[in-house]
């Protein structure tokens, strides 16, 4: 495959971002390779109702 890119003038007035999270990127520039991944685990059993119990520690 052959790809040819011609970059002409790029001028942006204003960028407004509320949040960048969980291995996301905002890039004002050039790059070659990007590999971004994120896994978040919130199963129903992660919600407990009742007395507050600490999570098991390493020891």
């Amino acid at each position: 495959m052959k790809m040819e890119v011609v970059n002409k003038q790029l001028h942006i007035g204003k960028i407004e971002i509320t949040g960048v999270a969980s291995s996301s990127i905002v890039l004002v520039g050039d790059t070659e390779v990007m590999t971004l991944s994120s896994i978040s685990d919130t199963p129903p059993e992660a919600v407990t109702v009742g007395p507050i119990v600490p999570l098991a520690s390493i020891r």
Partner: protein
């Protein structure tokens, strides 16, 4: 990083990035703001997030080894096909007058400048611990409302008018 050894050379054909003004309100948990060029960004985060109805700080809590989310493999994209890539930047630059970022979290990156290889991974396990099924809504203080409106007008409008 080892597999990139020998490739750690700045990209040759990049443009200059110009940002007039950058406003950042908050950064947390392994986030990066980078101004300038670099070759590799390797951002990695693992976190156990516990939200409790009553803040209760135990000094020694949690074990990453107990949760599969921290060890399970993440599928990788297929290896890139051989691409013959040519770029003509016409001696142009990237200009941004103003940039306003309210928050960054969990191995997020904001970069003004060029890079070559970006790799990011975030693994988060969430917990919610409530005392009862009911969650009381305490009205926020006027100063908190004003701060929320100033920092994130759209999000604040949605949250406060609920």
């Amino acid at each position: 990083l080892a597999e990139w050894e020998g490739e750690l050379v700045l990209a040759r054909q990049t443009r200059v990035s110009q940002v007039g003004e950058l406003l950042m309100a908050s950064m947390q948990t392994s986030s990066i703001v980078f101004i300038g060029d670099n070759v590799v960004i390797d951002a990695y985060l693992k976190a156990i997030a516990v939200q409790r109805e009553v803040a209760n700080f135990y000094d020694d809590e949690g074990n990453f080894a107990d949760y599969r989310v921290f060890s399970q493999s993440i599928p990788e994209p297929d290896p890139e096909p051989e691409v013959e890539f040519a770029v003509d930047n016409c001696e142009s630059c990237i200009q941004v007058d103003r940039m306003n970022v309210v928050s960054m979290a969990d191995s997020a990156v904001v970069q003004i400048g060029s890079t070559r290889l970006v790799s990011g991974e975030a693994r988060i396990k969430q917990f919610r611990q409530l005392l009862s099924g009911e969650v009381s809504r305490i009205p926020p203080s006027p100063s908190a409302v004003a701060a929320a409106r100033r920092l994130a007008p759209i999000a604040a409008k949605k949250a406060l008018e609920m």
